[in-house]
Structures are given as structure tokens and as C-alpha cells.
Symmetry: C2
Subunit: 205 residues, 2 copies
DNA sequence: GTCTATAGTCGGATAGAC
DNA sequence: GTCTATCCGACTATAGAC
């Protein structure tokens, strides 16, 4: 099988194994999860997993492929809506924040892959999973800010949203942290303001 | 010992163990590193580690404490310099980017802790390690953008820089990625522009 | 396709010689 | 303070019954 298999090709049991493996790998990382633990979550014995996957590595790869599948749709829709560049940016940031906020497993798996993935896996991830949406993001950035480096802007757009979500668990212990800051629409509003007007965009002097 | 011990209290051997453990925990995570592996890096036997640390958990905690120690100084200096709020912001972002770019182990350990740390550990991390610099960041944000939410701004400032560094390994596979994007001063310049003027700050129509 | 049983390895941790 | 030797449980993976 290729490095990122088509999830449709898995049997029902294999799919169930993958679905139960996803939150475990996301929460505890590859080395932190045992085959027994995954089997217990599914309700089968560890040996049975080896009937559906040749080894732990292949199971992990399959879980990643499934978790990353179909992430394109929600984004593509938000990207294709009409309006001024600024309106499209606002809608995209709100949609992106909502999607990422909802799918914690996806975020954690992505973070872990950025840390642990080797060159080959990152290349596949970039080209098979992220390329199209990243291009959409970059094109939108270019239309809002012609003449700027669209690549850097696209990273900044995604990063602003994702870092607010990444730091969610520790923010309540930092000065000024409030529960409202976990609200996706609050984060999206803040990020949109910074992107369109900079830090001073919300100032009331 | 407390959850974050004073690194000064460790013996020379204990310090050597910690220094060799830091890059291993950073690169492979807690579960991905064995006591034997750490011992081999130090050039001793695994049993010897247990003379200096009661168990793996304590060793990991010690490694974190050492890696996070003295992170305050470079930031405090950059924060205390005079100038207009905009000048101080620019200098701080450049300094912060340079510091974080240099210390990959610190960044990885922080990321892993945000993912894997429980409430108690995150609380200690926030209050013992980050509180002062976060306050400095927030105060600077407030002076640049009075009336805004300083907490959200401080997270955005740190997040913009850190996310560009986090995505370093995958950016070359994404459209528009160039080697210059790994240059800390390029990242710092881009982030500063966005923070001060928004995405349009670099536009040449 | 799922099971039991188990091989073979590696993990954290301890005992006790030096 | 470091070592050798070892315990014992957990790990990945396989063999073979059903």
C-alpha cells in the first residue's frame, strides 16, 4: 500500500480499528500507545489487529490517512464563496477556526507529525493533504495583500488560529486568561482583526 | 523535590545526565526514550541513573526544568530597552525569534508539554516559567494597542513566531516555500509587519 | 476472522559486589 | 558512585486451533 492509503479500501473491522486508534495516537503519540491498548478500545484481541495490518507502523499510517481524509471539503467551500477579499478572508478564518476547534484529534496528529515525521512523510503530507488548501489560502492572501510573500502569509494565517488552539490548555494559568478565549468565534474575530489591521485594529484610545 | 527543581542543586553527574536527556526527550518524546538510551548517551549504565534520580518521571521533570531555566534573561533584556512601543515591539520580536530559533530543544519540549502535560504541570509551567515574560509581552502589547485584549495579543505575538518555526520542516514542500523562509530575521520581519500593520503592511500595489 | 498461547525482545527498576 | 546481574512485566509479532 502507498504511504497514504485510500481509506475506502479498508474492511469494516479495519476501519473500526483505525477509528479507535486515531484518538489514542493523537492523545498519547505513537510510542505511547500499545497494540493491546488499541485492541481493547476496539473490543478485540491484539493478535486480530495483525490480520488487518502488517504491523504497528502501517496501522499508524492508516490512522493518519483516515484522520486527514476529507479535510479539504469544508475549507474548499469557504474558499469558493464570493465577496471582497476582506470578506472572504473573514469567512475563511471563522470557518477554519471552527473546523480546527472541532477536530482536536486532527490538530494533535498534525502537531505530532510535524515533530516526528521524517522528510518523506512530511513531503507526502504536504503534497497529498495540504497542497490544495494551502494554495487557496495563499491565493486569498495574495488578493488581500498583493506584492507580499503569499507563502509566509498563508503560514501566518493558519498559525495564528492554530497556536491559539494549541495553547488552550495553558492559557487559563497565564495572566489575563479567560474562558471566553476558548470560544472559536472570539479567536477567529481576534485573528481576523490582526490580519486585516494589525495589533492596533481593535484599539479604542 | 518540587515539580520544577532548582537545577543548581544537581551534582555534576546528574547534570550530565540531564543535559544528555534533554535532546532525546525533545526529539522523541517521553515514551519514545528509554533509560538505557539516555545512559548510553551519557556513557554510563542505566542502573547508575537510578542513583541520581528516583525514576524516569523525575529525570524527565529535571530535564524540563534545566531546559526551561534561564530562558527569562534574553527576553527580559529585550523587554527593558527604551524606545517607542513600535520600536520595542520590533526589537522584541527579532530577539524572541532568534532565541527560539536557536533553541530547538526548548521549542520541542514546550510543544510536547502543551500536548501531554496535565493540569498541574501546565499550571507550574505557566506560573514558574512563563508568567513574567508573558506579562512583559502583554504590557508591551497594551502599550502598542491600548484597549485591546492584551492576553490574546501576547499569544498571537508568540504564536506567529513559533508557528513559523514549528512548520519549518514541512514548508519546503508547500507551494512558495523557499530556504530564505528559514532565516530568523526574515520570519521576524514578516511577523513584525503583520503585527504592526496587518497583512497589507507589505503591499506594493 | 478471531481466538489462545507464546516466542523473543525490551522496558523500568532493584540488589548487591566493588 | 558505578558496576554486573537480574527480576518481571509489557511490548511487538507469530503460530496454529477453531
Amino acid at each position: 500500500m502507498t504511504i497514504l492509503n485510500n481509506p475506502k479500501e479498508f474492511s469494516e473491522t479495519a476501519l473500526s480499528i483505525l477509528e479507535h486508534a486515531i484518538p489514542l495516537f493523537a492523545e498519547k503519540g505513537y510510542a505511547g500507545v500499545s497494540m493491546r491498548e488499541i485492541a481493547q478500545a476496539v473490543g478485540i484481541r491484539a493478535a486480530t489487529i495483525y490480520h488487518h495490518f502488517p504491523n504497528k507502523e502501517a496501522l499508524h499510517l492508516g490512522a493518519m490517512a483516515l484522520a486527514f481524509a476529507d479535510k479539504a471539503e469544508g475549507m474548499a467551500q469557504a474558499l469558493s464563496e464570493p465577496g471582497t477579499p476582506q470578506d472572504r478572508l473573514r469567512r475563511l478564518i471563522f470557518r477554519f477556526t471552527e473546523l480546527m476547534s472541532r477536530d482536536r484529534n486532527f490538530r494533535l496528529l498534525l502537531q505530532r507529525e510535524l515533530m516526528d515525521g521524517d522528510e518523506a512523510r512530511l513531503k507526502v503530507l504536504a503534497e497529498k493533504v495540504f497542497k490544495d488548501q494551502f494554495n487557496g489560502l495563499a491565493e486569498l492572501a495574495a488578493s488581500v495583500s498583493p506584492g507580499c510573500d503569499a507563502h509566509l502569509l498563508a503560514i501566518s494565517m493558519a498559525g495564528l488560529v492554530l497556536y491559539h488552539l494549541e495553547t488552550g490548555p495553558i492559557r487559563k494559568f497565564l495572566p489575563g486568561g479567560r474562558v471566553e478565549h476558548d470560544d472559536p468565534s472570539v479567536i477567529a474575530g481576534h485573528v481576523t482583526t490582526i490580519l486585516l489591521h494589525g495589533m492596533g485594529g481593535c484599539a479604542k484610545p
